[in-house]
């Protein structure tokens, strides 16, 4: 737990100290992204390695892995983000997931200080499979989804499709790619390379991004042939942090607050670092819905048995692009 705190604080310090070099400075430098829409921010966000076990480790170093972040704004002031990642040398033919970390949620609001509740990338209003479908491709049609077949270096794009009120008859919706693909997932190719692209219905450089509550746990007792018995705790899915109407005079008192489309309004925080996680899961790779599982990178105290995934401790310099007036 202490290591986690140190890592996150170091990451925070790094991103705060990042230069403000690549942010577009004026609207004249922006160019149109669509009808009535213009790009207002663009910057390259390199992934950094971070010390993991204390300050005596080598300092963070910029890697060849990065994201190109663009933020667009419509004439009505509605913003969305596009993140184009370039990953090289990750574990080959393996499922990975991308996550944001709400550092302020750790320090201010988390019931578990030192735990980083991750926010998955993707449209928060799109469905999640919670990993029950597995992840990957079925190029040979045998019904088995793996990252080792089919398209290499697949570029998942999370769409921002509008709700469809007419289709409400028990229909399971896809996630923008397929019902078997969690929104924040991608596969690496045989060289460990990938170029995922994710579009989000909000500006990731402000504090208005989805936050999540700490996770649920599943505890198991495992017996080994030698008679040794150990307890193991897994992280299960979590959901977005929700807000409730606390006005006793409101008809919806006690109910979740909703927006004009009837969708819940969720607690938001700023994003500080991004992380990328590799999912091992016996070679098949399963994402985990809202939460990638237990692990040193994003979860609570690592367990004795290890986990089904591990995460690259990297930070993204999103701080450099934040609006100064938001606070």
């Amino acid at each position: 737990m202490k290591r986690m705190i140190v890592v996150m604080l170091v990451g925070f310090a790094l991103v705060m100290a990042a230069p403000v070099g690549s942010l577009l400075g004026s609207s004249s430098e922006a160019w149109a992204a669509g009808p009535g829409e213009k790009m207002i921010k663009m910057f390259k966000a390199p992934f950094l390695s971070l010390p993991l076990r204390g300050f005596f480790y080598p300092p963070a170093v910029e890697t060849d892995n990065f994201a190109t972040v663009k933020v667009f704004e419509s004439g009505q002031g509605v913003r969305h983000s596009e993140l184009r990642y370039t990953f090289r040398g990750l574990t080959a033919n393996t499922v990975h997931t991308l996550w944001f970390v709400n550092l302020f949620m750790i320090t201010r609001h988390s019931a578990f200080p030192g735990v980083a509740p991750p926010s998955p990338q993707g449209n928060p209003y799109l469905p999640w499979t919670s990993g029950t479908a597995g992840v990957g491709y079925d190029a040979d049609g045998d019904g088995v989804l793996t990252c080792g077949e089919g398209v290499r270096g697949f570029d998942p794009v999370v769409t921002t499709e509008e709700p469809t009120p007419g289709a409400m008859n028990g229909v399971a919706f896809g996630t923008g790619q397929s019902p078997t693909f969690d929104q924040n997932s991608f596969c690496t190719n045989e060289w460990g390379h990938a170029n995922p692209v994710i579009r989000l219905p909000y500006d990731i450089t402000t504090k208005n991004v989805p936050a999540q509550t700490p996770p649920l746990f599943q505890t198991e007792v495992v017996e080994f042939p030698n008679g040794e018995t150990l307890k193991h705790r897994h992280v299960i899915d979590i959901s977005y942090k929700r807000l409730y109407d606390e006005n006793p005079d409101s008809p919806r008192f006690g109910y979740q607050k909703v927006d004009n489309l009837g969708r819940p309004i969720f607690q938001t925080y700023r994003l500080i670092p991004m992380v990328v996680c590799t999912h091992y899961d016996g070679g098949l790779g399963m994402t985990h819905g809202h939460h990638p599982g237990n692990g040193p990178g994003t979860g609570p105290t690592p367990t004795a048995f290890g986990t089904d995934h591990e995460c690259l401790m990297a930070a993204m310099q999103t701080t450099q692009a934040r609006d100064r007036q938001e606070d």
Binding site: F112, P127, G148
Partner: protein, 433 residues
């Protein structure tokens, strides 16, 4: 909600011909027998549903030969939302519903034996004042416990019928959504505009005719996926007596006054199944093991790029080094050679002798890792139980709730610490034969 499908236009003569042919066929061969196994579950209004005027309904289970099933609801008397609680995006008379499988016996108790599967884990209460030494505050889950009365702070009456801070509650809830286990759930984030896959709406006349599909046969024993008991979170609870009476603690800690998080149910996922497996189980397209170039990842005793994988490192590892893995393939960004991390011309080596940042081996990691168990299609294996009932839930807050319906009576959850309104109500229930 009226649906329009493609229309095949044929002449009157052809229509009458087809009708006649069908009638003759039925007389010759008898009624057409569907390959599906159908069971009509009679849904009876619950006490709450009857109070709302909900009429008895049916849920017809059709099991296909491949084990998939669909459950078709025929409901009436569904009440419209109360004024001020209309569902945005729907007509003011329409209500949001969802279908659930239940795991309960005749007494309404859980049939799921899942003790110790889930560890209760929540924000610890804070001991407020003058706590005796050794006081350990825990949430009083039991329903009979009284809140702290500031008007009578010396009172020792804390309610009756309590036996511990953690009341008897099932770790796996007795509700499972009627939907494919691979469905994408919005966890209620879609509201009425995009309900969860077990959600549907009534029409303006208070009728509801919806079909929910599953990829399992709910009539075939223990086939219905389980969902976990929710985790509770919050930030503020009025002071309460933390009578720390965990029977396993002897002597019992002293009573103290505490406050803590507001208990609200959070969403949870399906109950999953795990197994021990060797860590380095990655395989390539042709089944070959992809040799890892990362220290700590590999098979004990075998060599990887950085040397022999020892037992201490087995089972742990990391994703990639700060320069990218040394790679001899032509596409590699960081070809092998001088300049790598810890190599000549490169940054200093890792103090632990590794070339990259990583997590140290954990005690017990040499035993292997715990992975979720995939099925034959690479999907997660889910713990399952036998569904006993079908229920219909009315969502008064116009939100479905992901895998679990949230707080409320009848789902085996402890009540919230505060008098929060029920955001849903079970209006119909029927037994699966």
């Amino acid at each position: 909600m009226r649906k329009f499908g493609p229309i095949t236009r044929v002449g009157h003569g052809a229509r009458y011909g087809l009708l006649a042919l069908t009638a003759v066929s039925m007389m010759m061969m008898g009624p057409v027998i569907s390959p599906a196994l159908a069971q009509v579950v009679t849904l009876t209004p619950t006490e709450g549903g009857a109070a709302m005027g909900v009429q008895p309904g049916t849920a017809t289970i059709d099991v296909k030969q491949n084990g998939n099933a669909k459950i078709t609801f025929d409901l009436s008397g569904i009440p419209a939302p109360n004024p001020g609680l209309e569902c945005r995006g729907l007509d003011s008379d329409q209500s949001l519903l969802s279908g659930w499988f239940r795991f309960i016996n005749n007494d309404g108790e859980s049939t799921v034996n899942a003790d110790n599967l889930v560890e209760r884990w929540g924000p610890p209460p804070t001991i407020l004042e003058d706590a005796p030494e050794g006081c350990v505050a825990e949430y009083p889950i039991s329903r009979g416990r009284k809140p702290f009365d500031p008007e009578n702070p010396e009172s020792t009456d804390r309610g009756g019928g309590t036996s511990g801070c953690y009341g008897k509650a099932p770790n796996v809830i007795t509700w499972s959504p009627i939907a494919k286990s691979t469905s994408g759930f919005t966890a209620g984030m879609g509201g009425t505009s995009r309900p969860d896959p077990n959600g549907f709406v009534s029409d303006t006349d208070g009728d509801a005719n919806a079909t929910l599909k599953t990829n399992f046969d709910p009539t075939d024993g223990a086939t219905t996926p389980l969902v976990l008991n929710p985790w509770h979170f919050g930030s503020s609870v009025p002071p309460f007596w933390a009578q720390c009476t965990n029977p396993k603690v002897t002597p019992a800690p002293p009573v103290c006054l505490a406050a803590g998080g507001k208990l609200r149910a959070n969403d949870s996922g399906f109950k999953r199944v795990f197994e021990n497996k060797p860590f380095n189980d990655h395989v390539g397209p042709n089944g070959e093991r992809i040799p890892s170039r990362i220290p700590g990842i590999g098979v004990i005793g075998e060599m990887n790029t950085f040397g022999e994988v020892d037992e201490r490192a087995y089972g742990r590892g990391l994703i990639f080094d700060i320069n990218g893995p040394c790679d001899n393939n032509p596409l590699a960004k960081t070809p092998c050679g001088p300049g790598g991390f810890g190599k000549e011309g490169g940054p200093p080596a890792h103090p632990a002798g590794r070339d990259m940042m990583g997590f140290p081996p954990k005690p017990g990691s040499a035993k292997g890792q715990r992975f979720q168990v995939p099925d034959e299609k690479g999907r997660q294996t889910l713990a399952r139980a036998e569904a006993t009932h079908i229920s219909v839930v009315l969502h008064k807050d116009c939100l479905t709730h992901g895998h679990i319906p949230g707080h409320g009576p009848g789902i085996g959850l402890p009540p919230p610490a505060q008098g929060l309104p029920d955001d849903f109500v079970e209006i119909l229930r029927g037994e699966i034969r």
